[in-house]
């Protein structure tokens, strides 16, 4: 929501006490994440984007230099293997923008490895099940 409360008033805690406060600590503690989202204008659609914006408490306000760029310092966020499943009718241009978005996310969300999988809505369940099965191995 952009209030900077989680950086400068209640560090590490969102001032909005809803379901999000149960989710972002789990994201931080996980060494693997799977994002499943419809694509809109080359980015995550509103549900996933809202969650990612609400996860800002996992970062500090302070800046570090990472791979030659300025980024926020992470709090206790485990390095992650990320699988990003993007679905919908996705043009080549949208794929390109989304790939670049996830590459940026990787720096700000501590992905040590990631894969982006594009699929259709009709193939979504199958794709997710296949990827989850890989985790279980």
């Amino acid at each position: 929501m952009g209030c900077f409360g989680c950086w400068t008033k209640t560090p590490g805690k969102c001032v909005i006490r809803d379901d999000a406060v149960n989710v972002y600590p789990k994201i931080a503690k996980s060494d693997g994440v799977m994002h499943v989202s419809r694509i809109k204008y080359g980015g995550y659609d509103t549900v996933m984007k809202t969650m990612l914006e609400r996860a800002i408490p996992v970062q500090q306000a302070f800046i570090r230099i990472l791979h030659g760029e300025t980024h926020h310092v992470q709090r206790e966020v485990l390095p992650k293997k990320a699988v990003i499943i993007a679905y919908g009718e996705i043009s080549d241009e949208e794929r390109d923008v989304f790939q670049r978005l996830v590459a940026r996310n990787a720096r700000n969300m501590n992905f040590e490895q990631y894969r982006v999988i594009f699929t259709s809505e009709s193939q979504l369940d199958e794709t997710v099940q296949r990827e989850v099965a890989k985790w279980k191995k």
Partner: protein, 212 residues
Amino acid sequence: MEKIMVVNGSPRAPKSNSKRYAALFSKYSKNGTSYFNISKTNHLALCGEMEAFSHLLFVFPLYADGIPVTLLHFLKTLEQNPPKNKPTVSVLINCGFLESRQNDVAVDMMRLFCKENGYPFGSVLKIGSGEAILDTPFRVLVARKIRKLAKGIEKKEYQVLKVSMPLSRKMFLRASTVYWTNYGKKNNVTKEQMETMQIEGPGEDEKKTKPF
């Protein structure tokens, strides 16, 4: 002459830096400008207002490497409720990082929206170090670029502009640390408290071992 609708897509629009950037734009624009915040309840009203403008400037911050969800929600409503005459869309984006290029993906999302929905695309101004730059002597650099953005839109000579603090990364890091430390002080929060590595307070194990 272009008549410009300035839409602030920041989630904290009334208190945002985007509002200050928008005000500078209006100051330098010789065209008539009208300013609007996006709220949860005014999407349809904004879509209706748009009919009266030939140019639309979105002003917003970078959020989680993309466009803020506040703006995304509005774009989806606009997609369903387009004006009959679609204005040319320009973008003024700022991020707190030194590198203005960190805004590129969000700008391309706006380009995609325009392409998919038939809006001509105009100019872009990408601001780096945008959280603090207006309160530093480098404000003049931003003002100059915003004036250039306004002039380009006035002449329909569309361009991609960028600006940031002319500092090395290490100097920026030091300056931003001072900025955020002072921000915390206003809330009676120390730098050490802001630097906590804990998320949502101590974990369960730490709570158990905490002495009485």
